[in-house]
Symmetry: C2
Subunit: 404 residues, 2 copies
Amino acid sequence: MSTPYLRERRDELLRDYRDALLRDVAPFWLRFGLDREHGGMLTALGRRGEVIDTDKSVWFQGRAGWTYATLFRRVERRPEWLDAALSCVRFLRDHCAGPSGKLLFTVTRDGKPLRMRRYVFSESFAAIAYAAVHAATGEAEWRERALGAFATFLRYQHEPGHIAPKVEPTTRPSVGLSPWMIQLVTAQDLRECLGDVEVLGRTLTQWAKAACDAIVRLFVKPDLRAVMEQVAPDGSVIDHFDGRLLNPGHAIEAAWFLLREARRSGDAALATTSLQMLDWMWERGWDREHGGLLYFTDLHGKPVQEYWAHMKFWWPHNEAMIATLLAHAHTGDPRYAEMHRAVHDWSRARFPDREHGEWFGYLDRQGRPTTELKGNMWKGPFHLPRQQLVCWEILEGRFDATSA
Amino acid sequence: MSTPYLRERRDELLRDYRDALLRDVAPFWLRFGLDREHGGMLTALGRRGEVIDTDKSVWFQGRAGWTYATLFRRVERRPEWLDAALSCVRFLRDHCAGPSGKLLFTVTRDGKPLRMRRYVFSESFAAIAYAAVHAATGEAEWRERALGAFATFLRYQHEPGHIAPKVEPTTRPSVGLSPWMIQLVTAQDLRECLGDVEVLGRTLTQWAKAACDAIVRLFVKPDLRAVMEQVAPDGSVIDHFDGRLLNPGHAIEAAWFLLREARRSGDAALATTSLQMLDWMWERGWDREHGGLLYFTDLHGKPVQEYWAHMKFWWPHNEAMIATLLAHAHTGDPRYAEMHRAVHDWSRARFPDREHGEWFGYLDRQGRPTTELKGNMWKGPFHLPRQQLVCWEILEGRFDATSA
């Protein structure tokens, strides 16, 4: 859909998305992060790209593999992008599994085991990397690995006993939003690359739909105008610190995952819900005093326990840029254009490092960087390049086609 | 020792320590935190003392029990202080153990299990509470419980296999400063209350000395002018994020624990080392731009991974007030008077809530509160009242006698 806002800002936004992706962000990690000695991606980089810590995030072997294979598929078949993606998936395959076969959370530069965590998000990020590399190369191995990693993810999430809960479940049983969001986006990304195949007896579209249904049934609260992060198994609110904790950027990310699914399936009710999720969580997260999205807020406006809740992180702003632009393109509603303008302009003025490229990751509430790090075990080539690519494709009206 | 600084500021400092302890901090938690229905102490309180979360920290049943029993012993035999301490230790005894007997990390208000952690710090804080209540009441039960809890702590720390390491020990073995600090201060606090008795075949003084020796041998680095938080088992620096991470307030706390032991045993070399620890970590932690102590810094001045490293927390300032005042009283050196003046004046202007009492816990780098919370699972009646009591006693020249 073309709108006055999209026409008016098109050139400027393409510069900030397409051009910054191609000239700054994608080259930054190839130049400084790609490990030409041991393979895979280093993400703990300082302001000038210098390596601060040689330990490798397993999440980021998958996420970076996905990013570069996706650029190769959706932008241009540049050999250096495919080489980077292959380096990441080979490092994943050869060096990132623990003794049980479950993927680790961190490994040394040369792939020795460091840390295992209870969750299976390393598997979901490996799955999307394998799938994108399969779609880029046609090699059958990566297709099998993608389906295997997603099956492992699903088994851990849905068969009880695999993931030990942090909080005693007989006292206070709870379920989280994150695993359902990851199920949704992983099914979507796999479907884009492998077609709508079956995993554990259901098609990828059915896994995506089950996740949308669970999110709407359990976590979306019209009476409270909020999207919860953690609820009791029946969806009721747990009136304690963790139960009241809202993560606006995270819920806004969920909103655009749902809108993507709604647009594909033509589910108007789901699209409406996804827009409400965006509306409510924008309302709860946007900092009226200093601008930007607060990291955490409390359902009832009480203080939250996390002492850094007031900070402004890069990724919620990336997710909000996608969600508001997609909502505007979907509805034509100028209200979403104004939200997109607010988050784009606030972010653009603060996150990019004009001297050395890429973005700072962590700002204080007033919007000043609190560290010079360009990456760590949590920040690397994922949220920012994904946002730049998706927003570029939305502007050019081809996001539904490329991501279908 | 009397010095010009101590004479000049005595009245003012007594107001901020003795008077604020007796009129503000000790009453605050009795009034708002003490749970008259289920026993024990609630610590998740808002600015006006309102209960924000009814979950209970097991650490704080021990820490609050120690605080109020210690006020009863070292300040005045007020029945309400002993009642509060008894309420905490009874809640600990009756409601805080997991199925294996190991203490939990959090429980519900009425004592149902919520979270267990790998560490045994709940045991060390229980031990000092039981010991202080024994010294206050003479009841044998609390003496036995104190010795039992400390023995459990020591077994977990010193017998391998009890605490699963976070990082794969065959790849990167490491040891931390915290368990040794806790061994030292727990042995000291138990000795003060129970005399120099034996636990697991060694006297409390021997356990304290073993901890001092380990801290000096492994974590104190004269060539780097730093106290490490985590090192390889041979004391060498691990050149990664976690290995380079310095926690100046924590190391300064360790410094005064060592100085306390050195003054008691007359170990002049240990006293000198403890003063160097204070000097180096003040140099590394004091924020020359905005004042106050930074939470984390990097050994080599690189960016740290923790995005809230720039924040100013209450407790490092409490520990630095004790350490600088004790160092000044020990040496008469005006340099420590100036350090005490700096941390006292900076803290006094920012942390206390002039309207509703007690202290804010978390300031941004510039010194503004980032949350109104008065307490949570990490903040409650411990670091602040301990600092007020210890500094008051130092000013009146009786800290060695009360804490011996």
